[in-house]
Amino acid sequence: MLGYVVRRLWQFVPTLLGVVLLVFFLFNFVGGDPAYLLAGKISNPAQIENIRRQLGVDQPYAIQLWIFVKQIASGDFGASWSTNERVSEIFATRLGPSLTVLVPLLAIGTLLAMAAAMLVAYLRGSLTDRAIMVGCTVAQSISILVYILVFQYVLAYQLGWFPVQGWGITFAENLLRYSVLAIIVGVAVSLAPDIRLYRSFFLDEINQDYVRTARAKGLSERRVLWVHVLRNAAIPIVTNILLQLPGLLAGAFLIERFFGIPGIGREVILAVERSDFPVIKAVTVYVAVATMIVNLAADLLYKAIDPRVQLK
């Protein structure tokens, strides 16, 4: 086991290297030259040259790559090419708003989905079960774009319950006023797939031998569900959430954009549009490291659950 963990940690290095190479290749060969964008409306080749020199992209690739590696080691990616803000500053300030929306979203969504899935698992096979599952399927088949557009139009404009978009100053204001609509949309979108997923987790557990044993011992169905099944199903549920986290942070850009939330996802889109390499580098490295750690944790959990699995 220890050997496995060490081996996986050791594998971080080539993986990170792979990420670095891929991002470097991506940016330099296909990412678009930022010099022309930064040069403005009227520019001559001499100015372009100057910009490239100031940005450091006129150096040979080997040197740029080496600088990149040093930056990863030190954790300092310099300053944004378009706004001059330090990249570490960018992340520090944008992480807060992203989490203010993401954490309540995950918490509320998971609890609601678990409750609904438990109910459906309890009623499995019945008409209610089928009806709810079909409902979830239909809800899941509608694009997130449609949800955002319609919710914003109906709840914010027609009914006036929430501000259309924006962000405030204090944490309380942000959480209780500006995040609410974004959280509602996020929960609405994730509820259906989560219910289906958690239902399958619960049913997986229910069909295990130990449940049959518990029932044979005379335990009530409710106790079986709430005490035994829930506890065991919690593992894949938590694993599932953990695995999604790194991707969610950067991937929530649609919600952040429509609701004007100054979070990381929105920052990533801006950086990609402006070919702002320092920000792109930093996001990629942070997400890569986070994903690798989370994947290792998930694999260890799999091993803990199913001892038959051999980790080589």
């Binding site: 594998q11 088949s141 774009l145 991707g247 990629t284």
Partner: protein, 348 residues
Amino acid sequence: MSESAILPALPGAASPGVWTLAWRRFCRDRLGLACLVVVVIYGAVMAACAAGWIVRDWSEEVAVTFAPPSFLGPEAPRGAPAAAAATAPQGALEDYGIPDPLADDLAEIAQELSGVSASETRAVTLAFGADKWGRDVLKKAVKGTETSLFVGLVAAALAAFLGTLFGALAGYQGGWLDDLFNWLYSVLTSIPYLLLVLAVAAVVNQKGVLTVILILGLTGWTGIFRLIRAEYMKHKVREYVLAADAIGASAARRMFVHILPNVSHVVLVQLSLHVVLFIKSEVILTFLGFGVGVDTVSWGSMLAEAQSELILGKWWQITAATVAMAVLVSAFSLLTDALRDALDPRLK
């Protein structure tokens, strides 16, 4: 369930195979059958569109801009119509001393073509309305089926193929192959999806349906890979595989003749899931600008247009695309569920 493929069937006791049993179970599920019918209908529509038998004229502008659906009635005029462009026949244009090399040719042509060209009449309402160019929304939704369903099916097939191949090699062989594929998996899943999409989009320089399929397929195999790898790791130590090893079956044979049939139900379910996922992803990709080209319509392109239309109160295009997509995706998902239930009855 894990019936060994190496024991010869005993004569006179032909037991039904896995798939036959599954099919029988499946047929008993009314909802599943209904969904299968729906999916087959969509498939038929896709084929008919591709062959040009229906909606071949989807891109013709037959109606006025944003013509409403017939059940709503034509739009009331808003204020006096814009003053007709004052194209009074110009007298001799001042030439400011710069002669036009084409002046004579154009004069000749003008003489040949005298007479006013007929103006086309356009419909003021259509069955389910028109988009901004006056194209029939219903026809677009039907034609969009071809693109969206095709993208979903082919991309899912590609992802399933890659994921299964890599998963089998990694899970069964282990060692450096496992390391290699795990490395590839880690690298691809570590990069934020947006950047990954950019990378593939930029490498595949041509835009269009092929690009979307490649983007989805080349980035979407990771989930399947992980599952199949785990399955292979599980099956590798089972008795029937050890037995096959004992009688001298090669590794390739063991992987693909013995184990694969026993994990094929996982592959099938994953394939089905990914079709659904990719149909929905195509919408997001088109919204980000990596979608289909100008002369192709997909549900994604309809929804992307809908963003600016909804705020003007023109809801028919977004509704048509959403309903068409919802019906197919729901049917496909429920079909997947029924498949899963039929293939693994313990899950009931």
